[in-house]
Amino acid sequence: MGSKKNLLLIVIAIVVFCLPLIIESSYYMSIFIVIGLYAIVAEGLGLLMGYAGQVSFGQAAFYGLGAYAAAILATRCQWPPLLCVCIAPLLPSMVAFIIGRPILRLREHYLVLATLGFGIFVYVLFKDLGTLTGGPSGLTGIPYLNIGSLTLVTDQQYFYLVWGALGLTLFGMANLTRSPIGRVFKAIHTSERAAEAVGIDTASLKLQAFVLSAFLAGLAGALYAFWVTFISPSPFGFTSSVEFALMVVVGGLGTLWGPVLGAALIVGLTEFLRWAVPVALPNAGGEFEIIFFGIIFVLIMLFRPKGLLAIEKSSVAMSHPTTLRSTDA
């Protein structure tokens, strides 16, 4: 099994590597870039939700903190962009570290609410700290990213950067979840109390997962800022937080590839509908795309309630979801 799996991974890596060579269109490259960015966020959130069992509806705040930190360092402090990308994720990580301890004591929907509230709070700050963030009008003039003398102007170049980052993320995740810590995370997901009973310091492990998820979201945010070269608060609001959670769940909780697939599905479905709806219904407006998106989404969840990549049977963690279950306790 091991060698076959490795072979597949190599094939996937080669396919990904070749994509920019085959595809000239900056549009399709951009779709892959967006998928890559969202997948990085979703991987982090997947660790938090799928393994540590903590649902967050505020992940877009970390995504935004990374984007704003990078953009502000690059425009107002004139730091070299690559350095900004490396430093920026530290801000969301620090914020997560500070708020993590108190917030992660909350359970189930109280945690969901607290993360949601945190997300809205940060969103308001983006809008209201106008001198720093540019306010609701946004921040313009973000330079292109350059590595040494190479400036990443084309989407093909940026694709390698984003998917390279995603590859590293996946590699790290794969090792983490297979390590003893990964098994402990699964134990927390299955039953936090049981894990505590056998002497696991669940609080500090949950905090680590939270900080790591914030770091990854921040990294994706920083990469986003240098790609669009303009940011405003709106991509970092509540709707985006929900979308990230959707990606994780639709892909399959507690799986390595689930979040990637979820991100690909959500971005791909939107773009597919943008193309397919006018073909199928020539006079339909954008409204139909939204309706179809909602319906297709519901159908996926109805037919694959555990997400597209979830393991069919076995795995105690999946067959007895404890997240958000409350009243019987």
């Binding site: 094939v11 269109s25 900056s26 609701p136 009008s137 669009v228 303009f230 991509p235 990637v260 954008g286």
Partner: protein, 396 residues
């Protein structure tokens, strides 16, 4: 494990297949016209999401205009294919939509977006691909580079907020009002208004005693207005679009605040008056001439344009167009005019856009140049007052 990896691989293949199909489709598509090849124009509009109330009339207007143009034979016999995409008021999707139009559909020019933020997000894309873009949004930043020059590939048809702000400040001075309260929506539209009004107020010696904000989705602005009522302000300026602009107006009246209420072009729609149910009476606002087209003097060069636009729109959609629809009208007409002169060449279209002068549109008479990619002055706006549920043109 194996199964799941296979699935991922299959999905990748599927995406590639779709990519392939998409490519095949665009290359094999026959020209739409019988005689001459179709000219393609793209539009990215905020049809759904938070800015939908701007995007919807723009979409309707664009659709109507392209149908009319093609019925009249298109541009020099070339039918025009207008591809309108929705960005869901989302910047990331605006970028993707713009790239699709440019790379897949090979459009000659891009119209859009409805908001400043979504427009700004597309600027880099069109500049890199060297495609002319005509935005329908207000912020002057859209057409300005960080160095203060005009963005070479970007134009816009809505009046810049500074024009509106100056107009209001001068009006206040004319009325002898020195102290005002300023309420704005807490989004890009209101924020740009706030910044520009601060500038205009300072230049004209008007003091802003109170700056309050409300969210576009808020249902009640009584708290903010209570502060206004308790202040020494002599007039209130509100920078917002419906529905929040309507709610502010209703709250303002029910709190019995006794001072002039000044809105902006954001309310330029009969719906605003209908929704406010009488509360709108007495509201004063600087505005494009669309709402008072019938009252304009015959000498106004915009008058025929406005009347025919209102007439056509009313016939097709059963309601009067809004000022935002007007921005869409101008964007389309300017683009078409440029293509007429330049032919199907993106760079030449850009050059042609920059040379359009004396062009009467809905939002004003456009005088574009290398130094001004908006081309509208303060004369593009008039002051109107709402009386008995109707717009009335105020003499300057």
């Amino acid at each position: 494990m194996l199964k799941r990896s296979l699935l991922v691989l299959l999905c990748l293949m599927l995406i590639l297949a779709i990519v392939g199909c998409g490519k095949a489709k665009t290359t094999s598509e026959p020209p739409a016209g019988e005689t001459k090849e179709a000219y393609k124009i793209g539009a990215v509009v905020d049809i759904s999401g938070s800015a939908a109330s701007l995007g919807e009339p723009e979409r309707n207007t664009l659709q109507m205009l392209v149908d009319e143009l093609n019925a009249e034979g298109g541009i020099d016999g070339h039918p025009v294919k207008l591809i309108i995409l929705d960005n869901k008021s989302n910047e990331t999707e605006a970028v993707l939509a713009a790239k699709r139009l440019i790379d897949q559909d090979k459009v000659l020019a891009v119209i859009g977006c409805s908001q400043s933020s979504t427009s700004l997000a597309m600027v880099d894309t069109v500049t890199k691909s060297q495609v002319p873009m005509v935005s329908m949004a207000a912020s002057a930043k859209i057409v300005t580079t960080p160095e203060g020059k005009q963005q070479p590939w970007v134009f816009k048809t809505a009046q810049s907020d500074i024009v509106v702000a100056n107009k209001i400040a001068k009006y206040l001075v004319g009325q002898g009002i020195k102290d005002v309260a300023f309420l704005s929506m807490n989004n890009a539209f209101g924020d740009s208004g706030l910044k520009n009004f601060e500038e205009a107020a300072a230049a004209n010696g008007v003091n802003i005693l109170l700056k309050e904000k409300f969210e576009a989705t808020d249902n009640d602005m009584t708290a903010q207005l209570t502060k206004v009522k308790a202040s020494k302000a002599k007039a209130t300026v509100v920078w917002a679009i419906p529905p929040s602009a309507s709610i502010v107006t209703k709250n303002f009246r029910s709190l019995n605040i006794n001072m002039p209420l000044i809105h902006t072009h954001g309310i330029g729609n009969q719906k605003f008056i209908d929704i406010a149910e009488g509360a709108a009476d007495g509201v004063i606002a600087p505005m494009g001439k669309l709402v008072v087209a019938e009252q304009l003097p015959e000498s106004d060069t915009q008058k025929p344009v406005l009347l025919s636009y209102i007439n056509d729109y009313q016939e097709k959609y059963g309601s009067r167009p809004s000022t935002f629809g007007g921005h869409g009208y101008d964007a389309f007409e300017l683009t078409v005019k440029a293509i007429e002169q330049a032919g199907p060449d993106r760079a030449k279209i850009r050059d042609a856009l920059e040379q359009i002068t004396g062009f009467p549109g809905v939002s004003g008479v456009f005088n574009l140049s290398a130094e001004d990619h908006n081309g509208l002055g303060e004369d593009s706006m008039v002051f109107v007052e709402i009386k008995d549920g109707k717009w009335h043109l105020l003499a300057n």
